[in-house]
Symmetry: C2
Subunit: 198 residues, 2 copies
C-alpha cells in the first residue's frame, strides 16, 4: 500500500514543482501543458488525474508552492537581523545573490503569472494575491515586533514587498544586482525614518 | 500616391497599438499572432509585411510604443509639481486613478512582457530594459533639477520607478488603489529625507 500510494504522490509533487519553476521562468502562458508534463516526467493522463481542472488548477497549486518557498526565504532573511531596517536590507541582498547565482532566471515565482492572470483567470489571480498578502504579513510582523505601530507596519510592509518585487523585475531585465541592492538601502532608510515615531 | 501609402501606414500603426494593448493586458505569450492581426483589423500577410520577424519583431515595436506612452504620462505627472516629492506622489495618484478607471487592466505596458522575455527573448528583453531606463531618466532629471546630487538622483530614480512598478502589479492583483497611494506617500517621504543633503 505504501509503495502504490507513494508513486502518485511523487508525481503530483513533481508536477507542482515543475510548473512552479516554469512559471517563475516565463509565466503561465509560455508553458504548454504538454511540455509541463514532459518536464515533470509525468503523463498528461496523470496530470489530469491530479488536476481535473487541467493546467489552470495545477498553476494555482504551483503558485501556492512558490508562495511557501519564497515565504521561507523571506522569513529566514528577516530573522537574520534584529533591527527591521537591517533585516529588510539583508533580504534584498539575499534576493540579489540568488538572482545572480541563477543567471537572473530565478525571480519572483508569482509576479509574471499574476500579471497574466489579472482580469482573465480569477482563481489564479486570487492565488497570486494570497501569496503577496502572506509575504507582506511576514514583514508586518517583523515591524510590529520592533515596536512600530500596527497601521504603519501594515503600510510599510506593503511598500517593502512591492519595492522588492519591482526591483527584482528590473534586476532580471538588466542582469544586474544594482536595482535590488539600491532598493534595500532605500527601504532601510525609509524604515529608519519611522524609528523616532515608535 | 498619398492615398496608397497612407493605408499601409495606418495598418502598421494599428498593429503596434493593438499589440501594445494586448501585451499590457496579459503579456506577450497570451496573445496569439492570429488574434493580434484580427483585433488590429489586419491580415496576417500585412503583419508579416511590416514585421518580417513576425510576432516578436512586432512586440519590440509595441514595447517602444508603450514606452513612449508611459513616458508621456510620467513626464506630465512630474511636471505637475515643482517639488520632486510632491511630483512623484502625484504620479502615483495618477497611476492609481488610471488603473481604477480601466477596471484594473491598464497596468504597466512593459512589465508582464519583460518577465516573460528574461533569458528567453533577448531583443524583447532589451526593448523592455530600454523602456525602464527611459522612465528612470525622466525621474532622475526631475531630481537633479531640484538640486539633488547626480549619483543620489540616479539611485533614487531607480527605486522610484521600481517601487511604482511593484505597487502597480499589487494594485492590479488586489483591485485596489492602496498599493500605489501608499507607495506614493512612502516615496515622497524617502525623497524628502534627502532634502537636507542638497
Amino acid at each position: 500500500m505504501t509503495t502504490t500510494t507513494s508513486v502518485p504522490l511523487g508525481t503530483r509533487d513533481r508536477l507542482v514543482r515543475t510548473a512552479s519553476r516554469l512559471m517563475q521562468h516565463g509565466g503561465y502562458e509560455s508553458t504548454p501543458v504538454k511540455q509541463l508534463a514532459k518536464e515533470a516526467e509525468a503523463t498528461l493522463g496523470s496530470l489530469y488525474h491530479f488536476f481535473p481542472g487541467g493546467k489552470q488548477e495545477l498553476a494555482v497549486a504551483a503558485i501556492g508552492h512558490g508562495d511557501q518557498e519564497f515565504a521561507g526565504m523571506l522569513a529566514a532573511g528577516l530573522a537574520s537581523r534584529t533591527d527591521p531596517a537591517e533585516a529588510v536590507e539583508a533580504v534584498a541582498v539575499m534576493l540579489a545573490e540568488a538572482l545572480r547565482d541563477s543567471d537572473w532566471r530565478d525571480g519572483c515565482p508569482v509576479t509574471a503569472t499574476a500579471l497574466e492572470s489579472v482580469g482573465r483567470m480569477p482563481e489564479l489571480q486570487a492565488a497570486c494575491a494570497e501569496a503577496f498578502a502572506n509575504w507582506r504579513r511576514l514583514v508586518e510582523e517583523k515591524l510590529v515586533a520592533s515596536g512600530l505601530a500596527e497601521e504603519e507596519s501594515r503600510d510599510l510592509a506593503l511598500t517593502v514587498i512591492n519595492t522588492l518585487e519591482g526591483a527584482e523585475t528590473a534586476a532580471q531585465v538588466d542582469r544586474s544586482q544594482t536595482p535590488l541592492l539600491t532598493a534595500g538601502r532605500h527601504l532601510a532608510r525609509l524604515l529608519r525614518s519611522y524609528a523616532g515615531t515608535r
